[in-house]
Amino acid sequence: MCTSCGCGGESGHVLVHEHDDDDDDRGPRPGVGYGWGREVRTVHIERELLAKNNQIATRTRRLLSDIDVTMINLIGAPEAGKTSLVEATLRRLRGDDVQLVVIEGDQTSDVDAKRIERAGGRVLQINTGPGCHLDASMVADGLSAMAPRPRSVVVVENVGNLVCPALYDLGERAKVVVMSVTEGEDEPLKYAHVFRAAELLVLSKTDLAPHVAFDDARCIANVRRVNPRLRVLPVSVVHEDGLDEWCDWLVR
């Protein structure tokens, strides 16, 4: 028998509600009694909370795949070196047959888009205002505006943030985390979600490693604890180390 209203659990009562086996764990049923004189009913929804975002992302992924376009979602803390990596990529791929399209996400300003433009890239700046991440609809609109050619590569540089972007599928082939050595070896442990969601970790600013006593082995061990499959690629834009491997991975 139901402990809330004393009914036998059959339908047709004034109060209709669920009788799950684990009801007792949930304490009092707040809904019951609210609708004095009105029927309170439970509507099962079971809807994934990011459903709308994920639908748009799935559609984007299909559209990009149809024209053989690869899209990468670059995620990292502010000042991790994401824009510098994109600039170096543009320089590296200059003269190659690959067209690179860049979508820049920042809360405010078009500083990064101007940098990419100066480096010779086709770029669109998205300002998220109070938003802390790009979502699938922003990127889908951006792609419509940029109309990437078949077989091109789209690099989306997400808003500098290691938390929220991990949750939002944009329709990318892979999420890439950019983490600079100056951020410390423990970062994978502290922001585990994004390191779990990523396929590749670009360990940037390796030229600064000696100055900040960066411990490679400890960093890698921390990465492995969080995501044993995450590939790690050390890169120095200043010394041009690791850029060939990065570009090979990007346009593979």
């Binding site: 609708g35 009105r38 929804i45």
Partner: protein, 77 residues
Amino acid sequence: MHELSLMDEVVAAVTCEAGGARVHVVRLVVGRRAGASPRALRFCFDACTVGTALEGASHDIVETDGDELLLEEVEVS
């Protein structure tokens, strides 16, 4: 603060499902590996529901060990 966008999505979905009925309880399932904080979701609930069909409703967040992020059910009248 992606919990604010998530709660906006909850409000939109519940408003649609409720179809004009009064909403009393909104029940969510949030996995520990889902990347959303139940505490922040609770914090956002009141702010996001003001002036909507959910205003004054209570919420119940069931935490699991998985990676679910679900609007499970609502109680309406």
